[in-house]
Amino acid sequence: MDQPVFIAGLGVISAIGNTVAQNLLSLEQEKTGIAPIRYLDTEHRDEFPVGEVKLSNDELAELSGFKPGISRTAMLNLIAVREALTDAGIANLAALRTGFVSANTVGGMDKTEDFFRDFLSDNAKGRLRDVVNHECGAVTNLVADQLGIRHYVSTISTACSSSANAIMYGARLIKNHMLDVVIAGGTDALTRFTLNGFNTLMILDKQPCQPFDANRRGLNLGEGAGYVVLVSERIAASLKKELYCTLSGYHNANDAYHQTASSPEGTGSLLAMEGALKRSGLQPANIGYINLHGTGTQNNDSSEGAAISKLFAGHNPKMSSTKAFTGHTLGASGGIEAVFSALAVQRGLVYPNLRFETPIEGFSFTPETRFSSQPAIKHVLSNSFGFGGNCSSLIFSKL
């Protein structure tokens, strides 16, 4: 049953670009997407920099083809999925068993927030069309309907590891011969709900974040969507295009330490990375680049770093967090970083960990600070860890 799963298409929209090509160019030019808040309607506008997609809701509606007024989460979702599908170029998608496994953490919350302003003063008030897509699953359905995908539609929400789990679940549906093609990843728009939520936890950086720096102050929230098109070996063989890589390993574990904090020793992170290595049949020394979860919070980076120090002791691969470019895109982060990782392994690229200055004491490694070409890279590890102790790691391998 352990047939390989290939990645045939990529799609991404984030603070550093509306397409895969734009994102890659920003990574190469070391151009961050973190900036003062421009689009999100919030009281904290001047307080926290964020990684916004640089388009208004009206512009996103036009780009996506959705009618204005739909959740920003759904518009970002459709744009990235459409790019991934076009990229994969699967001609007879409708004749195949095609699934859409999508992740998000707050669904249509951006519209629910508008609804609640009126609803709270009088529960007969508020436009119902603003709350009808509140559910996470409703956002997935909106996009599935635009694409005409009906064979299998699913939605996963495990906080910041959501889309890594969506990719893992999608791969397993193919390995278990239930589907031929799965579009998997995640989407999340910035909302007042999440910005204020993270603010109450006091883990937002008031400056552009510095992941894995000794003087890191917290995270910047971001938004976007990232999707990969997973295909079975049979479909892969039928495609006339160059495939990106295989998804050779994945693992889901739980830190079981605290609802929002990671264990000091990174128990869950270590289990996730070890499990993914085991599945892919690789040793730590085989990993050429790690796309870190690296949020920039004291807690995440010390916990993830402790697990990496232990697992990779003696042969540290190159590593970086791309959240200094995109911000932490929550339910989308695993999907966006899967796209970056697939490109990294296919083209032999290592992305810089922007704004890194001072190494954290006690770690045997420091993140990469410059963009570089590393043709020898054969395997890339991507980490996604979240609230609720949910830890997932994916491994992308060169063809």
């Binding site: 919350m109 789990n165 889901n252 609720g388």
Partner: protein, 349 residues
């Protein structure tokens, strides 16, 4: 694969050591609410204080299920919930709007994430294993079940804790009522099907199961298969899905001893069940379950508990005596708002 244990907190007396649906609870209006147990026996009282209602219901049913099965640490914890922790979401969202984004407390935000229940169970058990949460509307529980069955099939797990949980809150009820989901005139759940009309009654629940790869000798039932399908174009397509599903399990409708359908008392919603009962399911004893638990996106977890219980008991207690035959195979067919449709097949051990 086997259902080794099941635990169900619902609007009926289903939790703990109670006789099977002997005294049915009547609700008049448009809403059925869970009968909550004394949580102190199941969860540390210090933790209970912080948990919202859905977290308590989820954690309690999950922990009780593990206790029944005699399993300390499952190999995976998987939940399905369409709406997640609505009360916490509502608390944080309301305060945020009312207080103009100032002076907010973190607790409700922390607990509002959809994976809170599976995470809390993992935390209480110190369970570092696979942990996942599906938030896929009316197929949330079915997706969780499929994930669990795949893990067992892949050899990644021997015992999986899987559950479906959703709650009704004052605000979610008010909003869904405005959308026309519920009856405008009060009705008794006992009379829901005697007076079909527009709308149904709101429901909620928390049902958990231990699925095991190997038989324990004391299993409730076997779970053969689960399938969900999305927005079928017409009844013919639904019929085709049912037929393919049964074929894939090397069976057909004539071998099914009981069909459990998701009728909810709304004429439009129930039309498809009526058509199936008239033709495809004709001659097969059939019952429905939403008069017991109300309508909610993960109600199929209640239906699976009901089916497993009936199989464990040997005969169906809700059909006429003449139809009382030993239950070997039970099919559940449900849809939520005509969006996600699902099929679950259980059989006797």
């Amino acid at each position: 694969m086997y259902i080794r244990a099941a635990s169900n907190i619902s609007p009926q007396n289903t939790f703990g050591n109670q006789p099977f649906l002997q005294e049915l609870a009547e609700y008049t209006g448009d809403r059925l609410s869970c009968i909550e147990p004394d949580y102190k026996a199941l969860i540390d009282p210090k933790l209970i204080r912080r948990m919202s209602r859905i977290i308590k219901m989820g954690v309690a049913a999950g922990m009780d299920c593990l206790k029944q099965a005699g399993i300390q640490i499952p190999d995976a914890i998987i939940t399905g919930t369409a709406y997640g922790c609505l009360e916490d979401t509502n608390t944080f969202l309301s305060k945020m709007v009312q207080q103009n984004e100032e002076a907010l407390a973190p607790t409700a935000f922390i607990q509002s994430t959809h994976n809170t229940i599976s995470a809390q169970i993992a935390l209480l058990l110190q369970c570092h294993q696979y942990n996942n949460t599906f938030v896929n509307g009316g197929a949330s529980f079915e997706n969780a079940l499929l994930d669990a069955m795949m893990l067992l099939y892949e050899g990644e797990a021997s015992n999986v804790l899987v559950g479906g949980i959703d709650e009704v809150t004052a605000n979610s009820h008010a909003i869904l009522k405005r959308m026309g989901l519920y009856r405008s005139q009060p009705v008794s759940n006992f009379e829901l099907f005697n007076a079909p009309g527009k709308g149904t009654m709101a429901g909620e629940g928390s049902a958990f199961f231990i699925l095991s790869k190997e038989a324990s000798g004391a299993d409730w039932a076997k779970i053969d298969s689960v399938s969900s399908f999305y927005k079928p174009r017409n009844t013919a397509e639904i019929k085709q899905q049912i037929s393919i599903f049964l074929q894939s399990q090397n069976t057909n409708i004539h071998e099914i001893d009981l069909v459990i359908t998701g009728n909810n008392g709304d004429l439009k919603n129930d039309a498809v069940y009526g058509q199936l009962q008239q033709y495809d399911f004709a001659g097969v004893p059939a019952i429905n379950y939403k008069a017991l638990c109300g309508e909610y996106p993960t109600s199929s977890a209640f239906a699976m508990w009901l089916a497993a219980h009936e199989i464990k008991n040997g005969t169906c207690s809700f059909v006429s005596e003449s139809e009382e035959i030993p239950l070997k195979k039970v099919l559940i067919y449900n849809h939520y708002q005509m969006i996600h449709h699902s099929l679950i097949l259980l059989s006797a051990c």
